[in-house]
C-alpha cells in the first residue's frame, strides 16, 4: 500500500514537490524558531553561570541594558563613582567584588571596535575559566595588557610583544594571552584599572562592579542594601536571565505563531493537492472499487498518501533546518542584540519530533476530507468515467 501510495505521489512530481516544499518550509521555520529559543535560553544560562557573578552594580538607567552591555563587553555612557566599589566591599555578604571599567575604541579603518576593560586581580575568582596561554600571565606593570585569544590572533601578537594603541597613544607590553573561552572575553583587551581610568579620562570612575556573594540565597536582602548605594543600582543575574528569556520568549511566541500560520497554509496546500488528486483519479478509484477495494481501503490509501507527503515535507524541513542552522545562527546573532556566545540554535531530538509531529498532524487533518471523499465514491462512477 505504501509503495502504491508513493507511486501515486510521484505521478505529478512537480506538484508533489511544491506541496512538500511548502510543508518543509513551514516545518523548517518552526524548528529553527524553537531551536533558537531553546539554544538562546541554554546559552544564556550557561554564560551567566560561567560569569561567576551573581549580581552587578551598574550606573542608573536601565539596569538590564547596563548589565547586559557590561557582560557583553560593550561600553556604557554613564559610570559609577569608585566609592560604590568600596561600599560593596564593606558589605558582609560579599565574597568578591571586582571593578570593571569598559571603553570602546572604534577602529573604522579595520571595520571593528576594540573593547578595552580595566580590571584588577579581584576579577580572577569571578572568571574561573580564564587560562593563560603558554607562559604568559598577569600584569607585570601599569603598561601591561592581557589580550583575549581572538584579539591576539587579529593583532598577530604573542606574549612578550609590544602593542601600540594609536587612539590613546600608548605603548603596551603584552603580559598575557587568554586561551579561547568561547565568551566575549576572547576579543577584549584587559589593562590594569588605573591604566584604563587614565586612558579614558575616567579617574575615580568605574563602569560596574561584579559581585559574588558568600551565600547566593542572600541575594535578595543584599540587593536591597546595594540599592541604597548612591548613584548606583543593582541587578541580579537571575533577574537578567528572566528578563532576557521573557523578552526572547515573547518574540519567539509571535514568530512561532507566524510559523504556525505558515503550517496551516501548507496544510491548505496539502488539502488542495489531495483533493485534486482525488478528482483526477475518480475513474481510477472507481476501478479500484470495482476490483474489490472497500471504502476503508481507499480511505487508507489517500490518508497514507497525505501522511507520506507531509512526512516527507516535514523530514525535508528538519533536514534543511539542521543543514542551515549555522547560517540561521549567523543571521540570528546579527538580529538579536547582546546574544550569548554559546550555540544559539539547539535543534534537540525533542524539538525535531515536535515539529515533525506538527507537520504530519497538519497532513493528517488536511487529508481527512479528500480521503473521505475518495472513500465515499460510488463504484458506478468508474463505469460512467470509462464510458465517457
Amino acid at each position: 500500500m505504501i509503495r502504491f501510495a508513493i507511486k501515486n505521489l510521484c505521478r505529478r512530481p512537480i506538484r508533489t514537490a511544491l506541496t512538500a516544499g511548502g510543508v518543509a518550509a513551514a516545518v523548517c521555520v518552526l524548528a529553527s524558531l524553537l531551536a533558537f529559543g531553546e539554544g538562546y535560553r541554554k546559552s544564556l544560562d550557561i554564560e551567566l553561570k560561567r560569569m561567576g557573578i551573581q549580581m552587578m552594580l551598574v550606573p542608573p538607567g536601565c539596569p538590564y541594558d547596563a548589565a547586559a552591555r557590561v557582560l557583553k563587553g560593550k561600553a556604557l555612557d554613564v559610570s559609577l563613582p569608585e566609592s560604590a566599589l568600596a561600599a560593596v566591599r564593606l558589605d558582609s555578604a560579599v565574597a568578591q567584588a571586582a571593578p570593571l571599567l569598559m571603553a570602546a575604541i572604534p577602529r573604522p579603518s579595520e571595520g571593528r571596535t576594540d573593547m578595552w576593560v580595566g580590571i584588577d586581580e579581584t576579577l580572577l575568582p569571578l572568571k574561573p575559566w580564564w587560562k593563560f596561554a603558554g607562559k604568559s600571565g598577569w600584569f607585570t606593570n601599569p603598561s601591561s595588557v592581557i589580550m583575549g585569544n581572538e584579539a591576539a590572533v587579529t593583532e598577530m601578537r604573542r606574549a612578550g610583544d609590544s602593542l601600540y594603541s594609536p587612539e590613546t597613544k600608548r605603548e603596551f607590553h603584552i603580559s598575557g594571552i587568554l586561551e579561547r573561552s568561547g565568551t566575549s572575553d576572547d576579543s577584549m583587551f584587559f589593562v590594569p584599572i588605573q591604566t584604563a581610568q587614565e586612558m579614558f579620562h575616567q579617574e575615580g570612575r568605574i563602569t560596574a562592579v561584579g559581585i559574588r556573594l558568600k551565600d547566593p540565597s542572600q541575594a535578595a536582602t543584599a540587593a536591597v542594601r546595594f540599592q541604597q548605594i548612591p548613584g548606583a543600582q543593582v541587578v541580579t543575574m537571575g533577574e537578567m536571565m528572566g528578563t532576557f528569556t521573557t523578552l526572547v520568549d515573547s518574540v519567539r511566541t509571535l514568530m512561532v505563531g507566524i510559523a504556525g500560520l505558515a503550517l496551516v497554509v501548507s496544510g491548505l496546500t496539502v488539502f488542495n493537492t489531495m483533493l485534486a488528486m482525488v478528482m483526477e483519479r475518480t475513474r481510477e478509484l472507481g476501478v479500484m472499487r470495482a476490483a474489490g477495494a472497500g471504502r476503508g481501503h481507499l480511505l487508507k490509501l489517500l490518508f497514507t498518501e497525505s501522511l507520506l507527503l507531509t512526512g516527507f515535507g516535514s523530514g525535508l524541513g528538519l533536514l534543511i533546518a539542521v543543514l542551515f542552522s549555522s547560517t540561521a545562527e549567523h543571521f540570528a546573532r546579527m538580529a538579536v542584540p547582546l546574544a550569548p556566545d554559546g550555540r544559539l540554535m539547539d535543534l534537540s531530538p525533542a524539538i525535531a519530533l515536535q515539529c515533525a509531529g506538527a507537520g504530519i498532524l497538519v497532513g493528517a487533518v488536511a487529508g481527512i476530507y479528500p480521503a473521505c471523499r475518495a472513500a465515499a465514491l460510488q463504484p458506478i462512477a468508474a463505469m460512467r468515467e470509462s464510458a465517457q
Partner: protein, 229 residues
C-alpha cells in the same frame, strides 16, 4: 458449458432501475428477469441508452436495483451493506472496461496484482501465470503507455481474473480496439469460458456478440429477446 443440475450463478427477477435526471424520471431497466448458468457466455446487446450497461452494473454489484431481486453466486444482493457488496464483488466478479482502467504508474504485473492490495492475498505467482495465459509475460515490467490497446485490454483481463472470480463482466471490451486486437480479446474470452468461467459482455459489436453462446437483447430498459445460439 452449462449443466442443468447446477443452480444459476446470476438470477434476476423483475429487476428495475429508476433514477432521476434533473426533473426527468428515467426507467433505465423495467422488470427484467433472466438467469445465467455457470459457464455460460452471454452477450448483452441493444442500442445505446437501452439499459445494457445499467444491467451490467447491477450484476456486478456496482449499483443496486430500485426493485426486484438479484442473486449473484447464490447471494441475495437485496439489503446488502457496502462492505458485503464489496466482498461479493471482490470474490465473485471480475470487471473489464472499455477503456481498460489500468493505473499508469504501475507496470503490467503490478496492475494485475492491484486487486490483491485489497484482498490481502499474495498472488505474484498467479499474476505471472495469468500474464502467461494472456500472452503478456514478456511485458510484465512495462508500463501501460508502452502497450498496445490489445495488450492493455489483455492486462485488464488478467487483473479481472486475479481473485479467481466465477463471473467475468465486460463492458464493451473491444470498443477501443482495432479488429485484430478485438478478435484476440474475444478469443481470450472464449478460451476462458471454455475453462468454465461465466462471461457476460455488453457489446455493440456483432462479431463479439456472435462469440457468445447466448444473446440477450435489451431495448428501452426491457429484455426483448433472449436467444441461445
Amino acid at each position: 458449458m452449462a449443466t442443468t443440475t447446477e443452480k444459476p450463478i446470476i438470477e434476476a427477477q423483475n429487476l428495475s432501475r429508476e433514477y432521476a435526471r434533473g426533473p426527468e424520471h428515467v426507467n433505465a431497466l423495467s422488470n427484467v428477469s433472466f438467469h445465467v448458468m455457470p459457464g455460460e457466455m452471454t452477450a448483452i446487446v441493444g442500442p445505446s441508452g437501452a439499459g445494457k450497461s445499467t444491467l451490467l452494473h447491477l450484476i456486478g454489484c456496482m449499483d443496486l436495483p430500485t426493485s426486484g431481486s438479484l442473486h449473484i453466486d447464490g447471494v441475495d444482493t437485496a439489503g446488502l451493506k457496502d462492505r458485503q457488496l464489496t466482498r461479493l464483488r471482490r470474490d465473485s466478479v471480475g470487471f473489464v472496461f472499455q477503456q481498460f482502467g489500468l493505473i499508469p504508474t504501475l507496470n503490467v504485473l503490478e496492475n494485475v496484482l492491484m486487486p490483491t492490495l485489497f484482498s490481502g492475498r499474495q498472488e505474484a505467482a498467479r499474476a505471472l501465470q495469468l500474464l502467461e495465459q494472456v500472452g503478456l509475460a514478456h511485458r510484465a515490467k512495462h508500463r501501460p503507455h508502452e502497450l498496445s490497446g490489445g495488450e492493455m485490454q489483455r492486462t485488464a483481463i488478467a487483473r479481472a481474473l486475479i481473485n479467481s472470480p466465477r463471473i467475468l463482466l465486460a463492458d464493451e471490451p473491444t470498443g477501443n480496439l482495432d479488429s485484430a486486437s478485438g478478435a484476440e480479446v474475444l478469443q481470450l474470452f472464449k478460451s476462458l469460458n471454455s475453462k468454465g468461467l461465466t462471461v457476460v459482455l455488453v457489446t455493440h459489436n456483432e462479431s463479439a456478440a456472435a462469440t457468445a453462446s447466448r444473446r440477450m437483447t435489451i431495448a428501452d430498459g426491457q429484455l426483448v429477446a433472449d436467444i441461445r445460439q
